[in-house]
Subunit: 481 residues, 2 copies
């Protein structure tokens, strides 16, 4: 029998080429162990609610009311819902004819897009046009929409940081483009250097690749750094010179754990630079309800804002969005609530502030606990997590551990992470899933386990790591031949 169209040997090679380590071998092994009854601490994905973070009350009240609009006519509704949540539910239902069960416009509900534009304007101090804001089923879907519009084939290259969040490598592979890596410098706190960027572009050109876009992740995933304004200016200037679209993945903009380098958006820095660059450079910026102190990952809500993209292209993207009809409507409401939260004087304001501050303060403490914990371990060094939700420690594997990994047919950091998983139940992602320099090894973990469990997790990590190093380090040099 010849292979059938969905037999492995006959499916699209781009599908096979795409790799997504965040849910790769380690995750699959962890799922197996969990089925066997082992307690697993899933730190492979930035999925705060799965690790016990509670949702913010006010937005959930509003969306519950939007799902069950008949409650709004119930005389008892005030016993379960505060008046401002009721008012806000009516506000969103008035914007969404047919309610949550009707497809919205494929770009999202106009009223919510307006709220997003107002948020951006408050944040950056520059006008934002709702017509250039598209709502999406999470930021990932937005990135895919834009990359599929840019990539025409193998000859098109996208500059992606290494280490990177594998959404980018996977999406580029799926669309048959070429990933052009640029390295973040670990010893410079994961900063990036415009000279390295230039070199990456020349090397790609030498291979016949047209570099068309550059991705930055700020704050960094998996690396946790916050880019300075000066660095952003340099990046924007570089993109302008090289005629690249800048894709600004800014989904962690609320997750900042130090005061020296607050988040600054690419859009603001671009506008600050003035014409001609501010009127010409093409920029797409992404945001989400999944991160921040919201962590509403399962709702799948996001947006992107397009800057200096001509109307014909904006219309083409609209057309493509319309093939999937509309982003899910409940998450559009979450987005509206995120960019337009309760205000001082609202009934729910104090609770909202208390809950969000509680989460953010705790994340800040956990970022510190985790990086300090890693730095106390043998052969482990870790930059401080300035922002985002991850620590990305370097694990200095002894040659004998690398050798043992080879024997086991595993990449060295996969070998280490699997041993860690089996010994402690901590499910991480090996650095090789994000890219790293040759011969250097890392792992990524989220900083999301509950604060009270953090000391036990870090000491269980330390115990495993130090024993692992003990086992594989070469104390007895004389015994080697």
């Amino acid at each position: 029998m010849p292979p059938r169209p969905l037999d492995f040997e006959s499916i699209n090679e781009n599908v096979k080429r795409a790799q997504y380590a965040v849910r790769g071998e380690l995750y699959l092994r962890a799922s197996e162990l969990q089925k066997e009854g082992k307690k697993i601490i899933f730190t492979n994905v930035g999925n705060p609610h799965a690790l016990g973070q509670r949702p913010l009350t006010f937005p959930r009240q509003v969306v519950a009311l939007c799902q069950a609009p008949f409650l709004l006519e119930d005389p008892n509704v005030g016993l379960l819902f505060p008046a401002d949540a009721i008012a806000r539910a009516k506000h969103y239902l008035s914007m969404a004819p047919g309610g949550l069960g009707a497809y919205s416009d494929s770009r999202g509900i106009p009223g919510v897009r307006k709220e997003v534009a107002e948020f951006i304007q408050r944040r950056d101090g520059y006008p934002s046009d709702p017509e250039l804001i598209y709502l999406t089923d999470g930021a990932s879907k937005g990135v895919m929409q834009i990359l599929s519009t840019i990539i025409r084939g193998q000859g098109d290259g996208i500059l992606v940081p290494v280490p990177q969040y594998p959404l980018y490598s996977a999406t580029i592979a799926l669309h048959g483009g070429s990933l052009v890596p640029y390295y973040l410098e670990e010893t410079e706190n994961w900063g990036l250097d415009a000279n390295d960027l230039r070199q990456a572009v020349s090397q790609a050109r030498y291979k016949g690749i047209t570099v068309r876009a550059m991705v930055i992740i700020n704050p960094g995933n998996p690396t946790g750094q916050c880019l300075s304004e000066a660095n952003l200016r340099e990046i924007l200037r570089f993109c302008y010179q090289e005629n690249l679209v800048l894709l600004g993945d800014e989904v962690y903009q609320q997750n900042i754990y130090q005061d020296e380098r607050p988040f600054v958006s690419s859009k603001k820095v671009l506008m600050d630079m003035g014409p001609p660059i501010s009127r010409e450079l093409q920029l797409v910026s992404f945001h989400t309800v999944s991160k921040g102190y919201w962590g509403e990952c399962g709702q799948r809500g996001g947006y992107y804002e397009m800057t200096n993209i001509p109307p014909e292209t904006v219309d083409e993207i609209y057309k493509v969005a319309s093939v999937s009809l509309s982003p899910n409507v409940p998450a559009q409401i979450f987005m509206g609530l995120m960019v337009n939260p309760p205000k001082p004087g609202d009934i729910s304001y104090d609770q909202y502030v208390r809950e969000s501050k509680g989460i953010l303060d705790s994340l800040r403490r956990r970022a510190r606990l985790m990086t300090d914990g890693f730095n106390s371990c043998r052969n482990v060094v870790c930059n401080f997590t300035e922002g985002a939700m991850y620590s990305f420690p370097q694990i200095r594997l002894p040659p004998r551990a690398i050798e043992a990994a080879k024997q086991a047919g595993k990449v060295p950091d996969v070998f280490y992470c699997l041993k860690l998983l089996e010994a402690t139940g901590i499910s991480t992602v090996p650095g090789s899933g994000f890219g790293q320099k040759e011969g250097v090894f890392h792992l990524r973990t989220t900083i999301l386990p509950a604060e009270e469990e953090m000391p036990a997790i870090m000491s269980s990590f330390k115990k495993f790591n130090d024993e692992f190093m003990e086992q594989y380090e070469d104390h007895r040099g004389y015994s080697r031949m």
Copy 2:
């Protein structure tokens, strides 16, 4: 200045090639007119809630409680929610660690996938494996996942019915494949003929195209027909002989408006045929929460079931699904509720049956009202809408109308539909958006306007149409030269 990467001339040509008439020129014009204050009846998209259909109460209660799980601890919850909705919300929350705010497994919540498998088994009388059921953000996203796995390039062809729902043509264009049309026979109540299929495949082969899959839409969109078991057997045998995957778009399986031809699933017919075909033919079947009497379009929930797809491919599809992390979780709960509705004896059972029967009976009456209405119009003929949500009347345009369209630079049926829109506010989709035989013209309308408004809509249509025909028909043959 050279074109920038997101300028129109430099974006991916496949994006430009994709067409999606359901939200095309007519829809955009209708949106403009609405902004100007004109009353528009949007019958371009099967979007029942937007036209006033009310959501079923029980599922909305359950999902509202899942969104606001703190209500479950409130002593007053019983004043607003019945006990079975409360119990069911606890049931789904127990399956979804972290609740609606956490990413689920990328294939969907295991417990919901199990409920889907049980539903399929009850429906077809054959076992169904939850491991081969993937939940999606609506059926469209599922179709895209599968087509992107099948299509490797321009040389790969997909058999698609004409007229067809343009999701297929658009997705094939986006992935750079080739659409291979097969015609449904209007005079045979939109049936299909295996000989025509064979001819379509040979013609494609002659052009160097490898046909790899066949799409059927049953009940039909836009055509409304229900396929008989005999016809399905013929299709399955044809796919087996030609080594094609069958993609069964069965999203309208609950929408049946006659008793002679009930819905039968492709999976059941395949299993009835026995080995070897039942063990070898590759089939993917799609379903959704957007249609049926649910009409929960805005929630974006769907599933597909894979039959005879080998585990390696199932794993590859899992990997690709994992790049977007997970389908939205609230819609997964809707899917669970749709396949596992209240049972006799449950508190909410009577209400659930009353509501769903009310919707379905009314749709049946509207299908009749609409097709009868069309058939009473000059130069209009329309097959009865046996199922789905659409009528697809043929409009016999007089030569002078075709000439006038040409003068206006419009495709003839677009010309007609634009005039209809301007005169009556009825927003339809021209048949050319779905494909039709050369020189034959149609429009698609949903049967979804409120039943009480239907007579007025149909008489406003008739008035427009008959005047249009009057204007363009050539009564005075002598005056033509």
